[in-house]
Point group: C2
Chain length 456, copies 2
């Protein structure tokens, strides 16, 4: 497909053209079972993240404004009873699924791929019924589009300061919605162009609520891009690879082969990972090591004199934060993570809220934790050593944290995560039927009905 396309795409330039052909031409029959299964894992994990995130103060604030600008209560808000119009619901659900950064992470780009795409599709499915198969296929296409665009500008794009989930996610949302609207090739190209006009999001906003605006906009803006394209609102022929197009302006020396190579053969969603803990991935092996230490019979909390965390230089750079005051900051604090696991034996969203951060016991233990660089240790690994009174020490080395590509969460672990998160953010909801519906998504007749199982 890609090779045919590159010689003469029906519309668009040499990069956007083949991508449009893939968006419209890909069929679920050609998608390997493993790929489809990973798509459902990602969607399920996303629902969990939104069930946990929907009560965050940031989401409450967004709802208080967007609720004033919603024309019809036509689309569900995950974990809540409010309903908004499709644009508003897509915005809020994307923000809520990503607010803790507890949704999926594409390991090639660190995009959170599901948040921009799934909320757009499920909101649309509530007003324009489509089957679960069609939604799944559109989801796969959207994820592929955003991750490939992200790869074409990685790693420089994020490093420069672009919040890649938002900047690239809007293309995924636009492509996925174009597909379910059954736009023709020219209008699908325009949908990508209309997305390029709205692509935004800065790393400077991470750690503040403003981050979630760009994530919300990536889902909302993709729907808007496709709806405007449907009316014939034109965009450029090459919104991605044109001299003043997305990849050139937001990337340095973009590699377009990442976008067009092996379309329909190689699936980026297979590089997707799911976090066991709601914090920066560099902390995964640290937390795993702490769980192991805590279950050691020789461990005793009262005897802890000090904790030494050793890891890759990136671990120290990103997560050596002894004094943090908010849950959001704590998500990137090794000191806080060590403390809550050793104290509570847990590292869920409840351990990263503002109350947990200011708990005196946690504060006291945090002060005893030291983070040091150990250049020999890979970024996926970490060693944690606890010094106890009477000069005893316990140490654990973890080579690959849970949730890394080498140690993916099992399906059952994802289900447990969903239940835990629902228990945190939406106590009255039993997610059992939601979990079943997602695993059986290809058989669901009306994909919009899944949202009824995720409402609070």
């Amino acid at each position: 497909l890609a090779q045919q396309s590159r010689s003469a795409p029906a519309v668009g330039g040499p990069v956007s053209g083949p991508l449009v052909e893939f968006v419209l031409g890909s069929t679920l029959g050609d998608v390997p079972e493993k790929v489809r299964h990973e798509a459902k894992r990602s969607i399920l994990n996303f629902f969990g993240a939104a069930l946990g995130g929907n009560r965050d103060g940031c989401i409450e604030r967004m709802l208080s404004v967007l609720g004033r600008f919603s024309v019809r209560p036509e689309a569900s808000i995950i974990g809540r009873s409010e309903r908004l119009d499709v644009l508003g619901a897509a915005f809020v659900n994307a923000a809520s699924g990503n607010v803790f950064d507890f949704d999926d992470t594409h390991s090639g780009t660190i995009i959170h791929p599901t948040a921009p795409v799934a909320p757009a599709l499920f909101a649309m499915a509530e007003v324009r019924p489509i089957t679960g198969s069609k939604l799944l296929q559109a989801f796969l296409v959207g994820v592929e589009v955003e991750c490939r665009i992200g790869k074409s500008v990685s790693p420089g794009h994020y490093r420069r300061g672009w919040h890649i989930t938002s900047t690239c996610g809007i293309f995924g949302s636009a492509a996925a919605v174009a597909r379910i609207l059954r736009l023709d090739a020219e209008r699908t190209l325009w949908a990508l162009g209309n997305a390029s006009a709205q692509s935004a999001g800065l790393v400077e906003t991470l750690g503040t609520m403003a981050k979630s605006i760009s994530v919300g906009n990536s889902a909302r803006g993709g729907i808007l891009a496709a709806l405007l394209a449907e009316t014939g609102l034109t965009g450029p022929a090459e919104p991605l690879a044109g001299p003043r197009g997305f990849c050139s302006v937001l990337g340095d020396a973009p590699h377009f082969e990442a976008i067009t190579g092996g379309l329909g053969e190689r699936w980026e969603i297979l590089a997707n990972t799911h976090k066991p803990y709601p914090c920066g991935v560099v902390l995964n092996p640290v937390i795993d090591a702490c769980f192991a230490l805590r279950s050691d019979p020789l461990f005793s909390l009262a005897s802890v004199k000090g904790v030494r965390v050793e890891g890759h230089p990136l671990l120290r750079e990103r997560a050596d934060r002894p004094s943090v005051r908010t849950g959001r900051e704590a998500q990137v604090s090794a000191q806080h993570s060590v403390a809550v696991v050793l104290i509570h034996g847990a590292a869920g969203v409840a351990q990263y809220d503002d109350d947990a951060v200011n708990d005196p016991a946690v504060l006291a233990l945090r002060d005893k934790v030291q983070v040091v660089e150990a250049p020999g240790i890979a970024v996926e690994a970490a060693r944690v050593t606890v010094s106890l009174h009477e000069d005893a020490t316990l140490a654990r080395f973890v080579e690959n944290g849970r949730g890394t590509p080498e140690r993916p969460l099992t399906d059952a672990e994802i289900e447990t995560k969903v239940r835990d998160l629902a228990g945190y953010g939406c106590r009255l909801l039993d997610p059992a039927r939601l979990i079943d519906a997602v695993w059986e998504l290809e058989k669901v007749e009306n994909a919009g009905s899944v949202m009824a199982l995720a409402r609070g």
Copy 2:
């Protein structure tokens, strides 16, 4: 003010902090009369541009989608009878005022400063009554914010491919709306942060309808940024100058002094210019020369053998386009501009619509026009030479086109432009009362009432 601020801004970092203080602290009494007058010229010129632009196909398409997502018909659409909610109306009016690029141009940055700011303020004024003075003051503050941010990243920002009107305009809209909402300093800072999360717009979309999406979003997104900040949605301390903030990510080696220097003393709006013709500014002297040639008693259209346009290399680079097919392309075609002026003696929006472009007489004359570089000629100047049968030639050299900073349009010329544009895009509206109301804006008790004079 600026110096005090830089030493210890009440909120924010060393760049965003002083800017916030200016947004909140500036008072109309301290603004020189000349500055206030230029603000009213810009607003009036904007209303004219929107009265002319509101029937464009792009605006029709936007209305057909946004009309489906408007919660209340509370805010007016310039030149039309539809009403949308404030977010939708701000979006459409910004797009419509800029769709022909016939609105104001800030000569230091080529930002079109009024389109992102005025529609946001007038839409808000329709739902939260404020005086004309307050609107004028907020407008001045918004324009100052966007142009200063633009200057801090110019000229690299636009050159790289950023549609600077949209990327910077959203900060102007956010600041202006924060001011009329009477947000405190912290929330005003967050409004800027919330704007930074949405700043978008690519030069690749120019010449297509997708351009207008980013312009519409700059006005809408600024309102949203301020409304979210009002609820307490937090942003970063230094959204502009932070290491992953707007200026660092979308600019190379930004000069922050352009933002903080002489705040309240130097006013960027004094560098604003107004176009006499709805096309690229490089064409202004060419068109002026053609008007002069056409009124020469020796000129005869039937005798024209050829036309030679000489100018700065930029003129050829931007406007040597012998074959164009749409009005939008024609706006940057020297060939088309020469042809319509020599044939019709006019260069208004009617001469740049799709019909005019495909008129056989225009096509025939276009083929006779040659654009050549004359390195000695400045970018503000041009020479046009017409060869007539019987070996006669007529030539005109124009040193400064009308509408350049050296030859600004007079107030009367702006009024004429508004009347012409209303005649094109909104025939049933006599803009006399609108014109009076803008000149008397400081005395208008309810600024929202001005919109009633601009409705179709």
